[in-house]
C-alpha cells in the first residue's frame, strides 16, 4: 500500500467496501514516513499514537456501517504554522521550539470534522518566510523528485509529503506563492483561495493582509474536496468572508467550452526558462482543444509586484513578530540588566537570518521619515496591481501563466543572495496582493525529469470555476494520478 497511487476519494470508497481499514492505512503511512522521510525530511513532528487511535475508532464506525464523511480516514499533513491543540507548533522557528498551543486552527478542526486523520506537522521556512524551505530553523526539506533540489517554499514539507506518499492531502499557507511554488516544484496540485475564503484562526500570522490557508494534493478533485470542507465564515477570524461556499466537487465537470482564458504578456518574458515556456504553451493548446478562447492580455504593473510585496509583507511581519519577546511562547534568554535586553537576547537567539532581515526591512519601511516613501507607496501600487486584475477580468474568465519561471533549483543555489531568492517569486506575488484565488497544476516535466507547474487565476470567490478549469486540464492532459 503506497499512497502515491491512490487518491482520497478512492480511499474512502475502499473503506466503504470494507476492502481496507483505516488502521492498515495509517500504519503503512508511518512505515513510509520511517522509510522515506529520512531523506525527504518533510515532517517536523508526528502524532502516531493519536492517529492510530483515530483510525481504530474510524474502523469501528466503518464496521458498524455508519455513513462516512467525505474525508473519512484520509491521512493529512499540516504545515507547522497552524496550531493543533496539545501538539508542538514551531512555525519552523527555534523561538517556538517548545510552544504547545491550547487551541486548534479552524481549518484543521474542519478537516478533522470531515473525518481526516492528521499524521504530522510539516516543515516550512521559518514563519513561512522563504521560497525553498531552506530557511527552516530545524532542517532543509528535499524534493522527492530529486533530493539535490529544493521542494519550493514555504510549504515545502506539505508538498514533499504529498509527493512522496506520506499524506494524501496537506494544508499549506500562501502569502506570496507558498502553496503554489512547492506544488509546482513537487509535481502536485495546490490552491491559494480568495483572501477571506478560509479562516486564518490558528494560522500563525506572517503578513495578515496576504496570508491564506489552502490544500495541496495530487489531484484537483482532492483539493476541491478539502477546500469545500475548510472554507466558510468563522467568527474567530474577523476577515473571514461571509460568502456561501459552493459545492466545488459536484461542479468539477461543468463544461468549460467558450471560457475565455487570458495570457498575460508580462509573464512570458526574459527569465522564463525555455522548457517551462514550452510546456506552458502546450498547456494553452490543450485549452484550445477543449474549446476555450485564448486572449492575450496585459497586467502592466507586474514588474512592480516584487518590490510592492517585499515592502508590505515585511512591514506586516515586523509588526506581527513583535509578539515573540521571550515573555510568552517558551524560549527566554537570560539577561542581567533589563527587560529590553531579555527581549533582544531572546529574539537574537530565536530568529534565523532571513526572519531578522525581513524584520529589519519592514521596520525600516515603517520608520519615521520612510513610511511615505516606502510603505505607503507600496500600498498605492498595490491598488494599481488590483486594478490590473479587475480590468483583465472584464475581458476574460481565467488567467493562465507559469507558476514559477524555473523548475526546482538546487539546494544552496540562492541562499547566499536574498534578492535572487525574492525574484524567483515573480509569478506568485500579484495574486495575494490582489486577494484573488490561484491554483498550480502539473503540466509535465523538463528534460531532467523535474515537474513544471501551470498556474490558473480567477476573480474573487471564483474557486468553483478555477477548480473546474484545472480539473478539465489534468484530465485532457493526462496529468491524472
Amino acid at each position: 500500500m503506497n499512497l502515491r497511487n491512490i487518491t482520497a476519494d478512492k480511499l474512502v470508497a475502499l473503506y466503504q467496501n470494507r476492502d481496507l481499514t483505516a488502521s492498515e492505512v495509517i500504519t503503512s503511512v508511518y512505515d513510509d514516513i520511517e522509510r522515506t522521510d529520512k531523506e525527504v525530511h518533510a515532517f517536523l513532528s508526528n502524532c502516531r499514537e493519536r492517529a492510530l487511535e483515530e483510525a481504530r475508532r474510524m474502523d469501528t464506525r466503518i464496521a458498524a456501517g455508519e455513513p462516512l464523511e467525505p474525508l473519512a480516514g484520509v491521512p493529512v499533513a499540516i504545515k507547522d504554522n497552524m496550531t493543533i491543540r496539545d501538539m508542538t507548533t514551531t512555525c519552523g522557528s527555534r523561538i517556538l521550539e517548545n510552544y504547545v498551543p491550547p487551541y486548534t486552527a479552524t481549518a484543521v478542526e474542519r478537516l478533522r470534522g470531515a473525518g481526516a486523520i492528521v499524521v504530522g506537522k510539516t516543515n516550512c521556512d521559518e514563519f513561512a518566510m522563504g521560497s525553498s524551505t531552506e530557511n527552516s530553523g530545524f532542517f532543509v526539506t528535499r524534493n522527492p523528485h530529486n533530493l539535490d533540489r529544493v521542494p519550493g517554499g514555504s510549504s515545502g514539507g506539505s508538498a514533499a509529503s504529498v509527493a512522496s506518499g506520506t499524506s494524501l492531502i496537506a494544508l499549506g499557507s500562501d502569502t506570496g506563492g507558498s502553496i503554489r511554488t512547492p506544488a509546482a516544484f513537487c509535481g502536485v496540485v495546490g490552491i491559494k483561495p480568495t483572501y477571506g475564503r478560509v479562516s486564518r484562526y490558528g494560522l500563525v500570522a506572517f503578513a495578515s493582509s496576504l496570508d491564506q490557508i489552502g490544500p495541496i494534493a495530487k489531484s484537483v478533485r482532492e483539493c476541491a474536496q478539502a477546500l469545500e470542507v475548510i472554507s466558510g465564515f468563522d467568527h474567530f477570524d474577523s476577515t473571514s468572508a461571509d460568502t456561501a461556499v459552493p459545492e466545488f466537487v459536484k461542479n468539477l465537470d461543468q463544461p468549460i467550452k467558450g471560457i475565455r482564458i487570458g495570457i498575460p504578456k508580462e509573464y512570458f518574458v526574459a527569465g522564463l526558462d525555455a522548457e517551462v515556456r514550452t510546456k506552458i504553451e502546450a498547456g494553452m493548446r490543450i485549452y484550445e482543444d477543449l474549446g476555450c478562447e485564448l486572449h492575450e492580455i496585459s497586467l502592466p504593473h507586474t514588474e512592480y509586484a516584487i518590490a510592492t510585496y517585499y515592502l508590505i509583507a515585511t512591514a506586516e511581519a515586523s509588526s506581527n513578530l513583535a509578539r515573540y519577546d521571550g515573555v510568552r511562547y517558551g524560549l527566554r534568554e537570560a539577561a542581567d540588566s533589563s527587560l529590553q535586553e531579555m527581549y533582544r537576547r531572546t529574539r537574537h537567539h530565536g530568529f534565523g537570518q532571513e526572519v531578522k532581515r525581513r524584520i529589519l526591512l519592514g521596520t525600516y519601511a515603517l520608520s519615521a521619515g520612510y513610511y511615505d516613501a516606502y510603505y505607503l507607496k507600496a500600498l498605492k501600487v498595490r491598488t494599481l496591481i488590483l486594478r490590473d486584475f479587475q480590468k483583465a477580468f472584464e475581458q476574460v474568465d481565467i488567467i493562465l501563466a507559469p507558476t514559477s519561471p524555473t523548475v526546482a533549483f538546487k539546494i544552496g543555489e540562492k541562499t547566499g543572495d536574498p534578492l535572487s531568492m525574492y525574484l524567483s517569486d515573480i509569478f506568485t506575488i500579484t495574486q495575494p496582493l490582489a486577494g484573488i484565488p490561484a491554483i498550480s497544476v502539473p503540466c509535465g516535466k523538463n528534460s531532467e525529469n523535474l515537474p513544471i507547474g501551470l498556474q490558473l487565476m480567477a476573480n474573487h470567490f471564483q474557486e468553483g470555476l478555477l477548480l473546474g478549469v484545472a480539473h478539465h486540464f489534468e484530465k485532457a492532459g493526462g496529468f491524472v494520478v
Partner: protein, 93 residues
C-alpha cells in the same frame, strides 16, 4: 538609498533585535541591494491613488451576541499549570 551600518544598528534597536558587529556589514549590503531594488516603485506616479491595505470583499461587519460561552485557552492553561513565571518588568531608571 544606501543603508549604512549605522542604519542597521538604529533599525535593529527599533525592532528589538541584537545584531552582532560581524553581521552589520553584510546586512547593510544585503538591505541596500533590496532597498535599491524596491525603489523601482519611484518610476510610478501614484498621486491621487488610494492605498490598499487589505482586499476584503465580503466581511460580516457584525458583533456577535454578548453571551458567556466556554472557551479553551487561558482557562485550560491555568488548570494544568500552577504558576506562570514572568520576567521582572519594572526596572529602576
Amino acid at each position: 538609498m544606501k543603508i549604512s551600518e549605522g542604519d542597521v544598528e538604529y533599525v535593529a534597536k527599533l525592532a528589538m533585535l541584537e545584531v552582532a558587529d560581524g553581521e552589520k556589514k553584510e546586512l547593510a549590503e544585503q538591505l541596500s541591494r533590496i532597498v535599491e531594488y524596491v525603489e523601482k516603485l519611484n518610476e510610478l506616479d501614484v498621486r491621487g491613488i488610494e492605498p490598499t491595505s487589505q482586499v476584503v470583499t465580503s466581511v460580516k461587519h457584525a458583533v456577535r451576541d454578548d453571551r458567556v460561552a466556554p472557551r479553551t485557552g487561558s482557562s485550560d492553561a491555568a488548570r494544568t499549570v500552577k504558576l506562570f513565571k514572568v520576567p521582572k518588568v519594572i526596572t529602576e531608571r
